[in-house]
């Protein structure tokens, strides 16, 4: 039951990430290569999440790998980590875009102030 809660809580975040990724790719904002890498990374998160219960069943009872099943706290923590990963990634992209805009603005202003030109020749 707890593993189902884990999947139910995290699946929307992962689906959202996939949706954003496909949208960005379709809008030409990222290259095919970058799309593939990111898709692969989110796929790993998805597979690990979905496979967590069978993997736990497989490992339980074995020496060294035997562990307690997930507590509710573990579920909240895992969900928070995946959600934060998603948020941080999105925010970083926005910061980079702002940084680029600011840099280009600075460049353009420096050129215009220094040369007195406001038109491309």
């Amino acid at each position: 039951m707890r593993y189902i809660i884990l999947v139910v809580l995290n699946l929307p975040v992962i689906l959202l990430a996939f949706m954003n990724l496909v949208t960005r790719y379709k809008l030409g904002k990222i290259s095919v290569q970058r799309f593939r890498i990111q898709f692969f990374l989110w796929l790993i998160v998805f597979v690990v999440l979905v496979a967590s219960f069978p993997v736990y069943n497989h490992l339980s009872g074995r020496p060294v790998l035997d562990a307690e099943s997930l507590s509710l706290f573990d579920i909240v923590q895992t969900t928070a980590i995946i959600f934060l990963f998603y948020i941080i990634n999105n925010q970083r992209q926005k910061i980079e875009a702002t940084d680029r805009t600011l840099r280009e603005l600075h460049q353009e202003l420096s050129i215009r102030f220094s040369t007195g030109s406001d038109k491309k020749r």
Binding site: I30, Q38, N89, D99, H106, Q107, S110, I111
Partner: protein, 237 residues
């Protein structure tokens, strides 16, 4: 300075607090390019210097673009190339403001690029590294190896400031970092864009001034950190 249908060359010098040597560097470039057939302009990008770099550069006949804020070597180089692109230059060069690059090597690179139609030509100090200190050789070779590992670009001197750009490179080449790590990132971007990259041997003049101003290996550690971070971060972009 127009000479009919000759190629227009922008000689860009990013500079930060180089007031004591910038005039000499400009005069050196001017004297060598005056004998060539190129229609050239010397452009100094003053990266928010606190000294008289801009005044000295202007007195020596260069076009001076003053950064409103200090942006680092990568930022200053980007501004220079952006200006060259806006003004429709055919070829642009970047060389260090501390006078370590011989003007003859700059001209040699421009001739090579014009003749062999490369998009980005790097003046390599390490093809023939005689005269360089062992510390600098190790540091620069290490960064070139790292550039190869991270980005798959095989060059002998990924950190050289002497670079020649074609019009195609001026139009398309952009990078994200603003510190010295831009040298490696620029090669990566050029490779991603499918630009033709090559290098040619140059000789550097190390004076006490350029030694004092130049990069030390501790700064190399910062460059390594930034490059590794950039490579990892872009996996998620």
């Amino acid at each position: 300075m127009s000479r009919g249908d000759t190629q227009r060359v922008a000689l860009i010098i990013p500079a930060y607090n180089e007031g004591t040597v910038i005039a000499g560097v400009i005069k050196g470039l001017d004297s060598v390019f005056r004998k060539s057939n190129y229609d050239y302009t010397i452009i100094v990008i003053d990266d928010g210097s606190h000294d008289n770099t801009a005044v000295q550069a202007k007195k020596s006949g260069a076009i001076v673009i003053r950064h409103l804020l200090n942006s680092g070597a990568g930022g200053a180089t980007a501004t220079g190339l952006s200006y060259a692109h806006q003004m429709g230059y055919d070829i642009a060069t970047t060389s260090d403001a501390d006078g370590q690059h011989k003007p003859e090597d700059v001209l040699k690179g421009v001739n090579l690029l014009a003749k062999k139609h490369f998009d980005l030509l790097i003046g390599s100090r390490l093809i023939n590294s005689r005269g360089m200190s062992m510390v600098k050789i190790i540091g620069n070779r290490g960064l070139s190896v790292l550039t190869n590992i991270l980005f798959g670009i095989k060059v002998t001197d990924s950190q050289s400031g002497l670079r020649i750009f074609s019009r195609k490179a001026l139009e398309s080449l952009r990078w994200k970092t603003s510190g010295y790590e831009f040298c490696s990132e620029m090669l990566w971007r050029a490779d991603q864009l499918g630009l033709k990259i090559d290098e040619y041997p140059i000789k550097v003049i190390y004076t006490d001034y350029s030694k004092a101003k130049g990069q030390n290996n501790w700064n190399g550690i910062n460059i390594v950190k930034s490059l590794v971070k950039r490579r990892i971060v872009e996996m998620f972009e």
